[in-house]
Amino acid sequence: MSAGPVLKLTEAETTLVAQLGARGAAAEAERLLGAGLPTRRVEAYHYTDLRQLLRSVPVLAEAGPATQGPLSIPGAVALSITNARVGPIPTLAQGLHGQKGQGGVLAQRDDVLVRLNSALAGEHLALEVKGAVTVPVVIDRRIEGAASHAAGAVKLFVADHASLTLIEVFSGSDAAHVGNHATAITLGKGANLTHITLNVMGPTATHFATNEYHLGAAAHLRTLVVQAGGALSRTQLFPTYEGEGATAAITGLNLVGDGQHVDLTMDALHAVPHTASKPLFKTIARGRSRAVVQGRLVVARNAQKTDAKLMAQGLMLSDEAEILTKPELEIYADDVVCGHGSTCGRLDEDHLFYLMSRGISKSVAETMLVRGFLAELIDPITDETVAALLHTLIDSWLER
């Protein structure tokens, strides 16, 4: 046997190795011991150097009381995962089936957050949808009590031609939690899902989330990832277009304030011909803050007629804000329409002047323009109560 670790572990790494060991994940513990958390030398973490940014990891979460989350949607089906434990499952609306399952939910992947979640998630909430479910389903994913490390998981299967709106709200007590969450979603033939995730963690929390999507033939997915909370956040989106005719509108919104580091990373695989996606990521940054938007589109050799356009737009409201955008196209097919674009800037002076020349004060005009910048993301959300919730969330961030 070779002697000792090759690298001096950070406090966070030491804790994680111990936690993996305690959960019987010896192989993962060994791997982390050797490689450590990813640094800027790992391409996918180039702008989010976890070794630097994740200073410490609190104890693994113990079961906590199931409490009501901060946002409620009238008429929605309410489910919960508190401290990585699946809450009581009520009688669900017709077409919905839910139960508790064991272990993690994500497919194997060379990614530290995926590996940690899979090793540490003891149980998951498994949902199945058949037919059209018209009421939204809300999963409250909370970390309660003193600072803790929680690895929760959700698995959703949307059957052929079924449809659903799923909202996941990540929140918690005001402590330096580390949440590393997973959601794995499979869409059957012709299925239609709107998936909204809201990160409203406390100001000292770390929030990691990985959303894995498998899209069947002619399935349609709309996602909206809103990241507003946490000191350090990273949401990873891994959509795979597996059936012909699958389409997705993958969208995300980073609301980044003073002292926050927020990362939104998408790695999409168009695996079969005739699929389309239009990822659109927007960031509003203010104060001394850093936002990272990474988008990678991989088009497989046989995935002809792929139509994919990645767009990242940033709005900077302060001199100290930083928005780092990295689009990547990896195309192996030869008959595709793929592209990417990126814009970044301040509010347009001409726009401001026009509004003010009509009597609208500067601060109101700025708010109108910021809302205008976001309209493209919120307008497609057709459920009125959900849209109202999003407007409330955004407005409260703007007024903060």
């Binding site: 509004l355 009509r358 609208i360 109101v364 109108m368 910048f373 493209e376």
Partner: protein, 255 residues
């Protein structure tokens, strides 16, 4: 009989960066009158309109602008609008994501609030927009779109006049309102403007073509050259200008 003019500009100088563009503008527009400013491109006409509306890029180095007796140069653009000034833009700005109706309501209520009036009720607002829109061929489809986004040149100008009708300003400044309009659109826009003429309102119509003034007939015409008014006279002056060209007036100024 002396009454306070609606707009009085006294020896106005303004520059952008190091370049002086307005070089001592003097102008009086009494209540109830429509005055035209004619001048060639680059003479500073549009700068005058922006300086009146309070655009930040321009620095006023000297002079006064009195709106109904009140100096507005220290006011923010929004305050000037509340005080009753309206600029119809030569190139109305497209603002994606801001619905036209939302904008109109925000503007109307901001002005009412600024004057200490109550907010307009939604039904009253809808009625007011509908009434103003009918006269200008502005249909509800247009109002549902984002502000000026994808509007044709004519639609943009009609939308400007719609705003003017709705906000009922005391002093209207129309910057090249005829540019980009075909003859039919020009008629609609001119009729919209003429309908707003009244004893308690004044207008300053900036143009470099006489043709607009066939439709919006001014009481007084001012010739603008090299950053100041070089000649003022009755509406016939516009015709003279058309015949002689601006060069003749530059010469007179130089003499």
């Amino acid at each position: 009989m002396t009454t306070t003019p609606m707009l009085e500009i006294r020896n106005l100088h303004a520059r952008i960066e190091d370049r002086e563009i307005l070089k001592g503008v003097n102008l009086i527009v009494p209540k109830g009158e429509v005055h035209a400013i004619m001048g060639r491109n680059g003479s500073g006409k549009s700068t005058l309109s922006y300086v009146l509306a309070g655009r930040e890029d321009y620095e006023v180095t000297e002079g006064e602008v009195l709106l109904d007796g009140v100096n507005i140069l220290e006011m923010e653009p929004a305050e000037r609008a509340v005080a009753g000034l309206f600029l119809a833009f030569q190139y109305p700005i497209e603002i994606p994501g801001v619905a036209t109706m939302t904008f109109l309501k925000a503007a109307l209520n901001a002005q009412r609030k600024g004057r200490g009036e109550a907010e307009i009720s939604t039904p009253d607002f809808m009625r007011a927009v509908k009434t103003a829109g009918e006269k200008l061929n502005v249909d509800s489809d247009m109002l549902k779109r984002a502000l000026n986004v994808g509007f044709s040149g004519g639609e943009k100008k009609r939308a400007e006049i719609l705003q003017m009708a709705l906000l009922a300003p005391k002093m209207c400044v129309l910057d090249e309102t005829d540019s980009g309009l075909d003859i039919d659109a020009l008629k609609v826009v001119s009729e919209g403007v003429n309908a707003l003429r009244g004893p308690d309102r004044a207008m300053l119509v900036i143009t470099h073509y006489q043709r607009l003034l066939d439709h919006i007939v001014p009481d007084v015409v001012h010739v603008f050259s090299d950053g100041r008014v070089v000649e003022s006279g009755p509406k016939e002056l516009a015709l003279e200008l058309e015949a002689k060209g601006y060069a003749g007036f530059d010469g007179e100024k130089a003499a």
